[in-house]
Symmetry: C2
Subunit: 277 residues, 2 copies
């Protein structure tokens, strides 16, 4: 399946560069500009600065004069439009539309989506599209009606009804993210190795160690223990201790006990008074 | 539940403005800057330009000297960090983490998420957090280790392993979007009224009209109709016709028939030859 991002009549060079970067972090590279304000927009300083290394996307990008020339090979056209229209393709949130388009495993979702609409989506479901194009209008005026009419769907990113002013490159970033996730997504690289959990026996052994030491230092009264140990047990259960942390906590218990023993020895033989005669 | 975005040691004014805008479109307004590069960053021209109307977020934003001062009232701290670390909180994709944190209806997902990790997440599930803070490091160096260590989770936005260079404000936009969606999301305002579907009887009536007209214009041979009408029936089923479209298609059939009748009349009485003697 091919994916293309089409910017129509874009006026800010920075947005073109930021769009290239937003596409590339999500693994997309096919960018077409329809009649941008600046003919040399792909080589402008601001474009290159905001692209921040996504230069291959800029280098491969095409500039064309009309939307027709931008759509070769594309079979499913997604408008991104905010302005209400009296007529046009169905309006959908991107995440739900992509799930329906690609055949989400959750068939309930699909039914829910398709029941009220029925227009166009069944066709997509019958056969997954070979080429999906995302069309973005100009910063100031959005998409023209005649361009929206060509599309299979109008994607609307769910924003605060009181402030829907999404930056163009931010919109590209969100659509690229949702589309990449719908296509299966990239794996998150765990920065730290997944920790192992200590088993219940190890936790119980550590708690017994602590119980003894807390008595040694005089915090726990064995004659009236109350709920102290069960409370600590619950705390450590929630934390999910690793074997290494059991080791640390046993070290703390050991040190408490040693200090208690030292203190007891001092009480019977204070350091400033030689024990020997 | 309170939500706060915390930018630590941010150096580009444009990113502060774009962050305010990214937050506001997703309905968030609590922004704290920890020791930004420019003390007057909230009033710089580039900040205000890129905020594009999200001035209330800038006006309410606080600048503080240390991370400690930024975290009052926050009970769940999310680092956003890309650099691998040998130690620290578990790394999670935002969408999955938010579902677990808020108690996703899909308990299978939750189990899957928690089984391998177990660290910290159970605690969050036991009681939903009162304040969630998202921490973002500087553009060049990301977050410092000691700041990451304080966090409950390290969120990693799934990006192309070959190009993970996400712009700071773009990262804020994606996190704000995923978090808003996890919190229930904003409704998508349908730009067009949901179309009604024509019922099967209306479709069959229109097709009968077309069958007649297609014969009239000589495209359909009634003696050998082949699969033409069933094919058109399938095509219109996939399109999901509205009553208005039935009306249009019947108009087309009617016009075809009229033209066929005119042509037949012309054939018997050519215009350039007066019919009368």
């Amino acid at each position: 399946m091919k994916t293309r991002f089409v910017l129509i009549h874009t006026s800010h060079a920075g947005n073109v560069g930021a769009t290239a970067r937003a596409m590339k972090v999500m693994g997309f590279g096919d960018l077409v500009l329809v009649a941008p304000r600046w003919a040399n927009v792909l080589r402008r300083e601001e474009t290159i600065q905001r692209a921040s290394g996504a230069l291959d996307v800029l280098n491969q990008a095409r500039i064309v004069a009309t939307l027709d020339e931008a759509l070769d090979g594309m079979t499913h056209l997604c408008a991104t439009a905010m302005t209400p229209r009296d007529f046009g393709p169905p309006t959908r949130a991107p995440r739900e539309h992509f799930a329906a388009l690609l055949g989400a495993p959750d068939s309930l979702l699909k039914k829910e989506l398709l029941a009220p609409a029925g227009h166009g989506l069944e066709a997509d479901l019958a056969s997954k599209p070979e080429g999906v194009a995302f069309l973005f209008g100009s910063e100031r005026f959005g998409m023209q009606n005649e361009d929206v009419y060509r599309c299979h769907v109008a994607l609307s990113i769910p924003t605060d009804p009181n402030f829907g002013s999404l930056n163009l490159a931010a919109a590209v970033q969100l659509i690229a993210y949702d589309w990449r996730e719908a296509l299966g997504g990239f794996a998150v690289q765990p920065a730290t190795p997944e920790p192992q959990l200590a088993d219940a026996a190890a936790v119980a052994g550590m708690l017994a160690h602590w119980e003894q030491s807390l008595a040694d230092i005089g915090f726990l009264d064995p004659a009236s223990p109350k709920k102290l140990m069960p409370r600590l047990n619950q705390l450590f259960n929630r934390a999910g201790l690793s074997p290494e942390e059991i080791h640390i906590l046993r070290g703390v218990a050991k040190a408490m006990r040693q200090k208690a023993v030292q203190a007891a020895a001092k009480n019977t033989a204070p350091a400033d008074t030689p024990a020997r005669p």
